[in-house]
Amino acid sequence: MVSPLSAEATSIAVSSTRKSHTGDGTLQREQELGRFLAEVEKRALRIAEISIRDRDEAHDLVQNAMIKLARKYSDRGTDEWTPLFYRILQNGVRDWHRRQAVRNRVMVWTGRSKDEDGNYDPVAAAPDPGGRTPDEQLQNREAMLALEIAVRELPARQKEAFMLRTFEGLDVRGTAAAMGCSEGSVKTHFSRAVHSLRETLGEHWQ
């Protein structure tokens, strides 16, 4: 038989344990989210940058994706964060392209040429590799630049599938979740992307 006193003590203990778990849980979740974001942020920036050719805008898209993930999906399982984060990011990239398309139409209509705004210099914007000889740096830059240009030329869905699978390293299932399509579609888009890129880049790239 449980005495009233011991029952009360147990109740208090359970209550304090719950409180402790709630506080610890929030802190733990914050730490997990911080680690997750730190792990994906650089790759996400480069993926966004390759997609839209503008680092400043890419930064904004990545930050928006981070904030949306924290605000709306932080209570989801940690294994869901990667596809959710990239889905948000890809949606941001698509919206950006839509806005650009409208903007370009307005520019054409008002008589401004695309070139005036297309002042992106991929070589100047290319990252500065460290720990390699100047020749290696140059080769890597050129190779990456060629790859970036070729990836940009891919159809949107192939581009997404290739970048998520190759650059982010998502599996087929995760890529399907991020793209909002079936796993079969991911396989098809990815296979076509690889085939197209190999043709574009040629034998010398490999």
Partner: protein, 139 residues
């Protein structure tokens, strides 16, 4: 296409993907300090967003006692200063109550109590005189 060709193509695809991944990772590792700093700030902003729900709730709840006390004070003022004409139980006027109290403690009042029989006789006498007078006036 034979199986051998398929295998060769698959291997070449894998090598291509592997090289693309390595190139990409190189470019990621080579991000400059400015970009990394900005990413760090973005991450902190996102984590602050995570905190904001708890913080805003805390800020709201910490004002709850003050808001409750203010509400009680407002209700008390409304009750005490309500319109007397609408109040079925009229509160006595403070000045009137003070006057009544002065009347009670005045020395004359104690004299009146001592001569109670005399004042009672005066009242009865006056009533009787009035009744006879009224009847004569009316009649």
């Amino acid at each position: 296409m034979s199986k051998a060709d398929d295998r060769k193509k698959s291997t070449e695809d894998d090598l291509f993907v592997q090289k693309a991944r390595e190139m990409f990772e190189d470019s990621v590792d080579s991000l400059d300090g400015q970009a990394q700093s900005r990413l760090n700030r973005s991450r902190q902003a996102a984590l602050a967003e995570l905190d904001s729900g708890t913080v805003s709730l805390g800020r709201w709840t910490q004002w709850a006692p003050a808001v409750g006390a203010a509400a009680v004070a407002v209700v008390a003022i409304v009750v005490l200063n309500g319109n007397p004409q609408e109040d079925p139980i009229a509160m006595p006027d403070a000045s009137q109550a003070a006057g009544d109290f002065e009347l009670l403690i005045a020395e004359d009042s104690f004299d009146m109590l001592e001569d109670l029989e005399f004042y009672s006789w005066l009242d009865i006498d006056a009533l009787e005189a009035g009744e006879s007078g009224t009847g004569a006036d009316v009649g």
